[in-house]
Assembly symmetry: C2
Homo-oligomer: 255 residues x 2
């Protein structure tokens, strides 16, 4: 058996998230079907991060085992030929059989795009959260600094997750003006605020709950100094609302 | 009864086109439901152009009659509050009862965005047609000039249309490099080719069939001088394939 590692980009708009669900298309489900077509056998495709419905990825990492003798470059081309156009394989490579995309990840980064305007555009709304209120990035950065480090993030964990260990380490969290992203042929540009977060792992909805809380802080509805209190509560009700999934991109997974 | 004229923007991705269908959401259907909510009565909303499924609009014009006494500015805000975020009313104004958005239109313009690259992006593909072959804009413009004027466009009409009079007048048709469109908060940028066409009216699929033919010409698969022959044939099989709907924007309707 060989193990193949994939680097993937996808537009999450049309999918019910990464993970296979009883109903609806998922990125993992589509990948498993495509691998079955190319390699002639059904195999489980494991991903580094379980992105929610509507969340995008620029550098998702996935891996699967196969008996297929196809060279990895050929496999990449063949997968791109059968995958829908909103899921692209950027790289396919043979790796050690022990490689596990989720457990071996040392750090993952996500970013989130926010635009401020009172009247919202009909277009491109699946890539940006348009907030109708001005946001103060200074306040947001002050709060963000208090989230960095090894902490219990229970207050930022979405309900329904059975995970017991809610301690994660945020390595960096910055709110900066951002002019846009290049998507190969096309560039998404604007006067965005970008919230970029890097950690050793994330709880369910953790990025979106942090973003929702930072936006409340940027609007002045929660004080930047309330972060310690929110963390100490270990209770989801103390943090701000969950930011919408559009606007969120899984950027990179490092090993 | 008052007559209200709306100027609309919409992202056509999620809709089965403008016109009400037996199944699936349409822009017209959603608008009629929204007007019913705001004005408390069911009324027909007429549009200037019947955009296909997946086609976008920056300046669609629509009109409806109502007994509602709401000022038009209030109506605009109320409609935007109940419409889905991918349909926006840019303007609402009371007009003469005789106004008919379709029959009174003197000219309409559409544009179409094409990007050239062999590997396609997972993102933003609903706004651009990525063509895997280099295109020669000179050849395309040479062909385009031959389509300008009062012509029988039967060869560029999609099947299933019962329209007898296939004569339309193209006022302008240009292929130019294009750096991007501003959608309020967000800009879609890239090294595009833009095909912009202005006419007194369009047959079914006419823009997409002209774009598909111009792309064949730009690739060198049809000669630029074959336009006269295609027009003279008055037979759809003589023209090129229908370009995909994504990439097409109804730009403006003039009265």
């Amino acid at each position: 058996m060989r193990k193949i590692r994939l680097i993937l980009q996808y537009d999450g708009t049309a999918y019910h998230g990464w993970q296979i669900q009883p109903e609806g298309d998922t990125v993992q489900g589509i990948l498993e079907k495509s691998v079955a077509k190319i390699c002639g056998e059904h195999t489980k495709v494991m991903g580094a991060g379980r992105t929610d419905a509507g969340v995008h990825a620029l550098g998702q990492v996935a891996a699967f085992r196969t008996r297929s003798p196809l060279p990895s470059g050929t496999m990449q081309k063949a997968l791109n030929a059968v995958l829908p156009p909103d899921i692209r394989v950027l790289n396919a490579a043979e790796v050690d059989d022990a490689f596990q995309p989720r457990n071996h990840a040392l750090r993952k980064s996500y970013f989130y795009l926010i635009a401020h305007r009172s009247d919202k555009s009909a277009f491109l709304r699946r890539y940006v959260w348009t907030v109708g209120h001005p946001l103060d990035p200074e306040l947001m950065n002050t709060a963000a600094r208090r989230l960095i480090g090894l902490r219990d993030f229970s207050s930022f964990m979405g309900s329904g997750s059975g995970i017991r260990n809610r301690v994660r380490e945020i390595f960096s969290l910055h709110i900066t003006p951002f002019a846009g992203i290049d998507f190969m042929t096309v560039r998404l540009a604007g006067n965005f605020l970008r919230i970029r977060i890097e950690a050793n792992g994330f709880l369910r909805h953790m990025v979106r709950n942090i973003v929702g809380t930072l936006v409340e802080i940027g609007r002045g509805r929660i004080g930047a100094d309330s972060i310690e209190e929110i963390l100490a509560a270990r209770d989801r009700r103390f943090a701000g609302p969950t930011a919408p999934p559009n606007g969120l991109f899984l950027e990179r997974v490092s090993y």
